[in-house]
């Protein structure tokens, strides 16, 4: 079978309509069960002791008083986890260095950030667990720390890991990938990745306009409203049942099995309803601790993070320092582009360096490109993915410089992007040659949008920026059963990460069978029910989950045709499936009445047994998604406050299976981007401690901060999905930071190169200018 599933342009009945989501009633009535809503009989409550220091050697840990407290059933430290050698190994389709993973879930020799786990307890109540935590005595030797990415790259910066040397790799398009010589001095720079296409020196030589700028963004948190929560039960025969809120129950299983040296088959992970993840719920934090505590206490253990712990100890997205240099000709064509993106990865290597470098200039067709990325560790929590991980950091700089170039060359900001836009056949610097994409369409439609024509008043400005995400497929599975009344149950291994994939997968299955989508019930299977699934990330839920669901449906439809052939005593080739019925392929086959899906299902026992379909596949053919956003702002010159007047999103979805959920992804992602642009940041004190680990001081956008977000869905079908689907969740967060900075520039003439654009910063710039 080909790796690709081809797009078919056909008349659709269900896809593109807006049925009600199947998880809706559970969510509006309080029935839906999230991580912290799970309770097991006899459960204990776990709590974690966390480091108050940014960087310190652990000299000793005394848990004796905690252990002696009545009601305490287990106390664990790093001694309860095996050390792991430093080697980057694949596990559950993730590549990870388990030397780092085991140290992140429980500090060993050193604590590396404020909030780093040091010990954990399980007790008969939350109150006793917290009391016990306070009885644990840790002796620290405080070490010098480094927070900022630029400081961490300095030669004399405090080192987090004396055994880390910079590994470099240069990838030349059409040439070799070469390793750079490993540095002889240890460094906080874990990795340098360089992409080269063409010759930037000759490109810049020919340029009419050269702009060179340095930008900086702050780490921001995914900000899911549901804190991490896990309940683990370890039985006397060594079996584990683990409830957890995650985007990837199979990879959680794989990571726990590796960390705890257990057979994969002995761990069953049941994913709960997910209260937001945005990339931040792919990694293990509480899970191995809860399992280990349960193993010692022989009772189920429930652990829930506080909001303070979520901010201090779960991954924010990386901060970055981005150098951008663009060379353009007189007409505005970019002929050379150079960038260096220094990405802060937190206490351990593994920032989304590849994604930041790959997405940096890829919206544009540029002959000469160089992009250098650095993966830099510092005394902050290990970063995690956050919606289009890495891309906003790079795009903020690139889209700001393009805006400046457009102004200098007196070209409309959308026109300059149309002139340079990547299209079908464009050769990217990272290797891919684009299939059919819809970038130019988003730009054209943005230019024609009514919001782009509205006249602006004093202190108001308009900004444009674009975004790109490559999207992924990966290992995905689905199991489909035709019930005896002809309704359908589909179990998938992807998580409905909020976007409504249970609805959209049901709609695709219904479309295949030719039945109503409310006859199809899609649920997420636990790890014991299905083959391995990669984490639901990179906007693959509806794309890859859709492909396996469609193929499982086709598998079952083939079986239905066989059953009809058997019933009619004809060959299967003489049966066709149309609009929910098996029919004779032609009048010559015989005078048979069509058999409905429920007719066939009712007779399944007599024709061979229950009817099912399944699909297990490494899904290929993810279609890149592109978007253009237009933001209008008004700047209050007395306070420095920036008000979003209008926000317009034009993005290619390939095909919107359920348009309301596509709109929801666009709107939600854009508002996260608004938060990143205007308010959100991790603020550290001189002592290396996080100063704003709560929603009061870490200010995510609220309803009164934003207007209605106007959405236009462009549909340029992905050639490698049966219904043309492209992943759409990542792109909306990419353009807002630059679009807002560009709009502010348009309003007051000040160009900002650092985020967030909070009132004090904007006011200082207004006064300064």
């Amino acid at each position: 079978m080909s790796d690709f599933v081809a797009y078919e342009d056909k008349k659709l009945k269900t896809i593109g309509t807006r049925p009600l989501r199947p998880d809706g009633v559970d969510k509006v009535t309080g029935r839906a069960r999230y991580g912290a809503d799970i309770n097991l009989p006899g459960q204990l409550y776990g709590s974690v002791l966390r480091s108050p220091h940014a960087h310190a050697k652990i000299k000793s840990i005394d848990v004796s008083k905690a252990k002696a407290l009545t009601g305490v059933k287990a106390v664990i430290t790093s001694k309860d986890f095996e050390d792991m050698p430093s080697q980057v190994i694949p596990v559950g389709e993730l590549v990870a260095n388990f030397r780092d993973v085991t140290r992140n879930v429980m500090a060993r020799e050193k604590v590396l950030y404020d909030g780093h786990a040091v010990a954990a307890v399980a007790a008969t109540s939350e109150v006793i667990a917290k009391k016990a935590i306070n009885l644990i005595k840790v002796e620290y030797e405080v070490l010098p720390h480094v927070i900022d990415v630029a400081d961490a790259m300095n030669e004399d910066a405090p080192l987090l890991d004396e055994n880390q040397f910079t590994q470099g790799e240069i990838r030349v398009l059409g040439g070799d990938t070469t390793k750079e010589p490993v540095t002889d001095k240890p460094s906080n720079i874990a990795k340098r990745l360089t992409f080269v296409k063409g010759d930037i020196d000759s490109g810049f030589k020919d340029a009419h306009l050269i702009l060179e700028r340095v930008f900086a963004t702050k780490p921001v948190h995914q900000g899911y409203i549901e804190p991490h929560a896990s309940v683990a039960s370890y039985t006397e025969d060594g079996q584990v049942e683990l409830y957890t809120c995650t985007q990837g129950h199979f990879t959680i299983r794989a990571q726990c099995a590796k960390l705890l040296s257990m057979d994969v088959s002995k761990i069953k992970v049941i994913p709960t309803e997910l209260g937001g993840g945005f990339g931040g719920k792919n990694n293990v934090y509480l899970e191995p601790l809860a399992i280990t505590l349960s193993k010692i206490a022989r009772r189920p253990v429930k652990m829930v993070m506080s909001r303070n712990e979520v901010f201090r100890a779960s991954g924010p997205s990386p901060a970055g320092r981005t150098y951008v240099k663009l060379g353009l000709n007189k007409k505005g064509k970019i002929i050379a582009a150079d960038a260096q993106i220094d990405m802060q990865s937190g206490a351990f290597p593994g920032t989304p360096l590849g994604q930041a470098t790959i997405t940096c200039f890829t919206r544009y067709d540029i002959e000469n490109v160089r992009v250098i990325g650095h993966d830099v560790i510092s005394n902050r929590p290990k970063v995690a993915a956050y919606r289009a991980p890495g891309a906003p950091v790079a795009a903020f700089g690139v889209e700001s410089v393009i805006d400046e170039a457009a102004k200098k060359l007196s070209i409309d900001p959308i026109d300059i992007r149309i002139l340079n836009a990547a299209k079908e056949g464009t050769q990217t610097y990272y290797g891919v040659k684009f299939p059919r994409i819809g970038f130019e369409e988003t730009l054209q439609k943005a230019k024609q949008h009514k919001n782009y024509q509205i006249p602006l008043k004093e202190n108001q400005g308009r900004g444009v920026a674009t975004g790109f995400w490559m999207n992924i497929g990966m290992d995905t599975t689905a199991s489909l059963n035709v019930n005896d009344d002809g309704t359908i149950a589909v179990s998938v291994g992807t998580i409905d990460v909020a976007g409504g994939s249970r609805a959209s997968l049901a709609m695709m299955v219904a479309e295949e069978f030719g039945i109503d989508s409310d006859k199809v019930r899609v649920t997420t299977g636990d790890t014991s029910q299905l083959g391995f699934n990669f984490v639901t990330a990179g906007s693959r839920g509806t794309f890859a989950g859709g492909i396996v669901s469609v193929l499982a449906a086709r598998d079952a439809i083939e079986e239905c045709k066989l059953r009809a052939a058997k019933t009619w005593n004809v060959k299967v080739e003489e049966v066709v499936w149309e609009n929910g019925f098996a029919r004779p392929a032609s009048a010559n086959v015989g005078p048979f009445e069509p058999l409905s899906l429920s007719d066939i299902a009712r007779n399944a026992t007599r024709t061979g047994g229950p009817i099912a379909g399944h699909c297990e596949k490494n899904v290929q053919g993810a279609g890149p998604s592109f978007g253009t956003q237009i933001v209008d702002v008004e700047v209050d010159k007395e306070t420095g406050s920036v008000k979003i007047l209008r926000h317009t999103i034009v993005q290619d979805a390939g095909k919107a299976i359920h348009p309301a959920y596509v709109e929801g992804q666009y709107q939600g992602g854009a508002v996260q981007g608004i938060g990143w642009a205007l308010n959100e940041e991790y603020i550290y004190g001189e002592d290396g401690r996080l100063q704003n680990p709560g929603f009061l001081d870490y200010r995510v956008p609220v309803a009164s901060d934003v207007p209605f977000i106007d959405v236009e869905i462009v549909e340029v079908p992905n050639p490698y999905h049966p219904y043309g689907v492209r992943g759409i969740g990542e792109v909306p967060i990419i353009p807002p930071t630059a679009a807002i900075a560009n709009a502010i520039n348009d309003a007051i003439g000040v160009r900002f190169e650092t985020l967030p654009l909070s009132p004090p910063k904007v006011l200082a710039a207004i006064i300064g200018s």
């Binding site: 937001g276 609220v702 009164s704």
Partner: protein
Amino acid sequence: MARKHVVTTINGDECDFLCESDETLLSVIRNQLRLTGTKEGCSTGDCGACSVMLDGRLVCSCLTLAVEAEGKVIDTIEGMSDDGNLHILQRKFIEHAALQCGICTPGFLIAAKALLERNPNPTETEVRYWLAGNLCRCTGYHKIVEAVMDAATEMRG
């Protein structure tokens, strides 16, 4: 220290419980009464996921002591639908796709119902400011505001 005996009415039913004097109403609702529709997002009164009505007043149950509920009437999300019929707000949230992950939804619904009881004809700005105490990270608020405005229209008749 002896636990306190508290008698209240929850979602129309008389209910009594024992609690510590420093225990929050949220903790009792979720952990003792197992009404887990009320969510804990921050426990500092910043996210609104734990919103409940206490004697007709919108409160963050994470900032309310359980003993304060003595003799009072508590309404949570579990009591919002009436005899199998969803409240108009609940229905509109589903119809407008005003929820995604859904963790903030109970809090939004409780807060929106409190708004419409006071102001049956709110402007968009009034809806946005009233709901500014409830955080949603998925939707960007667009469809939530639409759903509340549409529910208000239908409730006015």
